[in-house]
C-alpha cells in the first residue's frame, strides 16, 4: 500500500504543476496580487484518516498525547499515523522510550473496534523488531494482549495471535508467553477458532513447547492435535504435525502420544502430497519411537515401507527425518531384521548434499548392522 501511495504521489506531482498555473489564471482574485494560500487544491498526500505528523523530534511525543485524548476520532487518526511510523525500528525504539506501550495497553481495552484493531496492528509491527520484543517483555505487554483472546472482532484476534507467534520465535518471548499461563488457553482455543488463526496458534505453540511442554500436555493437547492431523487444510496438518514433534520430545509426551494412538495417524500422513506434512510427520514419528512401546506401536502400524519411500524424497528435511525414524525403528529386533535388507538405500544417501542427512545415514547403517 505504501508503494501505491508513492506512485500516486509521483503521478499527481507531475501533473499538478500544470494544473496550478491553469487554476491561478481562472481564479479572479489571483490576478495581479500575490496571495498567501497558493492553491485551492490541497497537497496531494494528505490522507484524511491520518493525524498530521509533527516535524522531527516532536512527532512521537505529539502522537503519544493524541493517543490519550478523550475524543475517538483523534485517537483513531493518531493510531493510523503510528502504524506507518512504526515500520522504522528507530521510531520503535523512541516510542518505547517515551512510554507508548502503557498507552497502547490501555487502548487495547477500548470500546471501539477500530481502535483495538489498529492497536493490535501497531503491536504486531513492533513485535517484528527486536527492540519491540524486548520492550514487550519489559513492560509486560503479553498479559495485556491476552485479554483480547475472546474479542469478537476477527482482525483484532488475528493481529494478536500474529504478535504472539512472533514473540514465540524468540526464546525469551516464549518464556514470557509460558509464564503468563497462556498455553492452556491457546490449546483450548484451537478447538474453536478460525483456520487462519489456528495456524498462528499452532506456530505459537510449537515455539513455546521448546521451553515447557507439561502444561500443554495437561490440557489434553495431544487429542486435539490428533484431530487436526486429519484437517482438510494442508497448512494446519503440517503445523499440527510440527507441534506433535515438539510435544513428543519429553518422556511424558512420548507416553501420551503412544497412549492416544497417534502413531498410526502419523504413519498415514507419511504419504501426504505436501512435503512439509511428510517431513513433520516423519519427525514426530522419529521422536515418538524413541521409547520401546513407541517402536512396537510403529512397527505394528507398518511404518517401515512408507518411511523407506521417503528416504529418497526431494526435500532434505523429509529425508533427514525419515532416516532418523528408521534408525529408531532398527533398534528393535524385528525392525532390524526388516531393515537389513534395505541397507543399500542408506548407503546411497551417504553422499547426500545435506551434511546432516549423510551423517544420519552413517549412523543408521551403524545401528542396523550392530550385533549384540
Amino acid at each position: 500500500s505504501c508503494f501505491l501511495g508513492s506512485l500516486s504521489l509521483a503521478l499527481s506531482e507531475s501533473d499538478s504543476w500544470g494544473v496550478f498555473s491553469e487554476q491561478r489564471e481562472s481564479i479572479p482574485q489571483y490576478r495581479g496580487m500575490a496571495h498567501a494560500r497558493i492553491s485551492a487544491k490541497l497537497p496531494p498526500d494528505i490522507d484524511p484518516t491520518k493525524a498530521a505528523i509533527a516535524f522531527g523530534e516532536r512527532a512521537l511525543p505529539k502522537l503519544n498525547e493524541e493517543l490519550q485524548s478523550p475524543e475517538l476520532l483523534t485517537r483513531q487518526r493518531a493510531l493510523m499515523a503510528l502504524c506507518d511510523l512504526v515500520h522504522d525500528p528507530e521510531n520503535v525504539y523512541q516510542a518505547i522510550q517515551l512510554g507508548f506501550l502503557d498507552n497502547l495497553k490501555y487502548l487495547l481495552l477500548d470500546h471501539d473496534s477500530t481502535v483495538r484493531e489498529k492497536t493490535t496492528e501497531v503491536l504486531y509491527i513492533m513485535a517484528s523488531h527486536n527492540v519491540g520484543r524486548d520492550g514487550f517483555i519489559k513492560y509486560g505487554v503479553i498479559p495485556a494482549l491476552s485479554q483480547l483472546l475472546n474479542d469478537p472482532v476477527d482482525i483484532c484476534r488475528r493481529n494478536m495471535h500474529r504478535a504472539f507467534e512472533i514473540m514465540a520465535e524468540l526464546p525469551r518471548g516464549a518464556v514470557g508467553i509460558v509464564d503468563s499461563s497462556l498455553i492452556s488457553s491457546l490449546v483450548l482455543k484451537l478447538k474453536t477458532e478460525l483456520d487462519e488463526i489456528q495456524e498462528l496458534i499452532l506456530d505459537t505453540l510449537s515455539g513455546c513447547l521448546c521451553i515447557e511442554a507439561f502444561e500443554a500436555l495437561a490440557t489434553g493437547a495431544v487429542s486435539i492435535l490428533k484431530e487436526k492431523l486429519t484437517h482438510p487444510s494442508v497448512a494446519i496438518r503440517s503445523k499440527a504435525a510440527r507441534v506433535l514433534l515438539g510435544i513428543s520430545v519429553p518422556l511424558e509426551g512420548k507416553n501420551i502420544v503412544w497412549d492416544e494412538e497417534v502413531i498410526p495417524v502419523l504413519v498415514s500422513l507419511l504419504e501426504d502430497s505436501d512435503p512439509e506434512v511428510r517431513a513433520n510427520a516423519a519427525g514426530a514419528l522419529m521422536n515418538a519411537t524413541i521409547t520401546t512401546q513407541g517402536k512396537y506401536a510403529a512397527l505394528s502400524a507398518d511404518a517401515i515401507p512408507p518411511l523407506l519411500k521417503l528416504v529418497d524424497d526431494e526435500t532434505s528435511k523429509v529425508r533427514l527425518n525419515a532416516i532418523k525414524a528408521l534408525t529408531m525403528l532398527s533398534e528393535a529386533p524385528e525392525g532390524r531384521k526388516t531393515l537389513l535388507n534395505h541397507v543399500d538405500l542408506f548407503r546411497g544417501q551417504l553422499n547426500d548434499s545435506s551434511e546432516a542427512v549423510s551423517r544420519a545415514a552413517k549412523i543408521a547403517i551403524k545401528v542396523i548392522e550392530w550385533k549384540p
Binding site: C2, A10, R24, P43, N287
Partner: protein, 342 residues
C-alpha cells in the same frame, strides 16, 4: 498642429521620400498608477510640440488647399459623429410641469443608500501554544501581464530529452520505496529460512541424543539384569556346593552313628527278643509254678499243648516267627526231659 506642420515641411522639403501606411506619431507615456490625469511631459525627442527641423524655413509655404479641404472634411465628419452619438443616447423625456426626475431603485430588494458604510468587526486569534502547523506549499504568484506567443513544436525543447532526468528521479524514488519494502520482507524471509534450517537440524540432533540416551539406558538395564542373574547364579552354586558338603559330612558323621547306637542299645539290653524274654520269664514262672503245683506232669502236658498250638499258629508266619518256632521246639525239647524227670 505639429504633425500637420511636420507633414507640410516634409512634403515641402522632399516630396516623395517617405510614404507611410500610418503616419508616425509619438506614443503617450504610460502611466503606472493613475489612469485619469493627462500626460504632462513626454520624451522630448518624441514630443509633438517640439519643433523639428529647420526653424527658419517654416511657415514659408502656403498650406496646400487639398490638405486644408481634407482637414475640414475630417473636422466635419468628427462633428457629425459626435452629434449622432449624442442623438443615440436616449434621454428621458423632460419632466412634466411640477414634477421632477428622481433616481429610484426598482430592484426587488431595496438597498438603503447612505453615507455611512456598514462595518463589521471580525477578530481572529490563534490558540496559545499551538504547534506550528506545517508550512503550506509556497509558489509565488505570477506578476505581470500574460503575453501569449505561438511556439512551434520542437522549438523550445525536446521533451524526450528533457524529461529524462525528472523521470529518473521519479522512478528512482518509486523503486527505492519499493526496494525498502521488498528488503524488509526479504529480511524476514531470510530469518525464517535460517530458523527453519536450524530447527530441522535441532530436531534431528535432539532425536539422536534421545535415541542414544534410550539406547544407553536399555544397555545399562540389560547389563544390570544380567549381572543380577549372574550373581544369583553364583549364589545358588555356592549354596548347592555348601549343601553337598554338608550332606557328605553329615553322612560320614552319621555313618558310624547307627552301628554304635545299635551296639550300645544292645549292650544295654534294649533289643530283646520278646519271645525269648517271655520264655525266660516264663521259665521262671514255670519253675516257680512247677515248685508250687503237684501235678507237674499235668502242667507240662498242658504247656506242650500250648506250644504245639502256638507252633501251629506260627507256622505260616515269617522267619522271625521261625525263630519263635525254633525256640518253641527248643522249649519242648527242654520240657520233655523235665517232664520225664517228673
Amino acid at each position: 498642429m505639429l504633425p500637420a506642420r511636420n507633414q507640410e515641411a516634409m512634403a515641402a522639403a522632399a516630396s516623395g521620400t517617405y510614404s507611410y501606411c500610418s503616419r508616425p506619431r509619438a506614443l503617450p507615456a504610460r502611466r503606472r498608477y493613475r489612469e485619469e490625469e493627462p500626460v504632462r511631459y513626454a520624451n522630448l525627442m518624441y514630443d509633438r510640440r517640439v519643433v523639428r527641423g529647420n526653424t527658419y524655413a517654416l511657415h514659408t509655404a502656403q498650406p496646400d488647399p487639398l490638405e486644408i479641404q481634407r482637414q475640414r472634411e475630417a473636422h466635419r465628419k468628427a462633428l457629425a459623429r459626435k452629434r449622432a452619438k449624442e442623438q443615440h443616447q436616449s434621454r428621458t423625456p423632460e419632466p412634466v410641469e411640477g414634477r421632477k426626475h428622481v433616481d429610484v431603485q426598482t430592484e426587488l430588494y431595496l438597498e438603503e443608500l447612505g453615507d455611512r458604510i456598514i462595518e463589521v468587526d471580525v477578530e481572529c486569534q490563534t490558540d496559545a501554544f499551538l504547534d506550528r502547523p506545517p508550512t503550506p506549499l509556497f509558489i509565488p504568484a505570477k506578476t505581470g501581464r500574460d503575453v501569449a506567443t505561438q511556439i512551434e513544436e520542437g522549438e523550445l525543447f525536446d521533451f524526450d530529452i528533457e524529461v529524462k532526468p525528472m523521470l529518473e528521479v521519479l522512478i528512482g524514488k518509486i523503486i527505492e520505496q519499493a526496494l525498502l519494502e521488498v528488503m524488509e520482507e526479504e529480511e524476514l524471509a531470510n530469518l525464517r529460512a535460517h530458523q527453519y534450517a536450524y530447527e530441522e537440524l535441532r530436531n534431528a540432533e535432539l532425536a539422536e541424543v534421545q535415541r542414544l540416551e534410550e539406547q544407553e539406558r536399555r544397555h545399562r538395564e540389560e547389563k544390570e539384569r544380567r549381572k543380577n542373574q549372574q550373581s544369583q547364579l553364583l549364589q545358588k552354586q555356592k549354596e548347592t556346593s555348601e549343601k553337598i558338603a554338608a550332606r557328605a559330612f553329615a553322612q560320614r558323621y552319621l555313618a558310624d552313628l547307627i552301628p554304635s547306637v545299635f551296639s550300645s542299645l544292645r549292650d544295654s539290653g534294649y533289643f530283646y527278643d520278646p519271645v525269648e524274654r517271655g520264655l525266660y520269664y516264663f521259665s521262671f514262672f514255670f519253675t516257680g509254678t512247677c515248685k508250687s503245683t503237684q501235678s507237674y506232669f499235668l502242667f507240662s502236658q498242658s504247656l506242650k499243648q500250648v506250644c504245639l498250638h502256638l507252633q501251629k499258629i506260627m507256622l505260616p508266619a515269617s522267619c522271625s516267627q521261625g525263630h519263635l518256632k525254633v525256640r518253641i521246639d527248643v522249649l519242648i525239647a527242654l520240657l520233655s526231659p523235665v517232664s520225664q524227670d517228673i
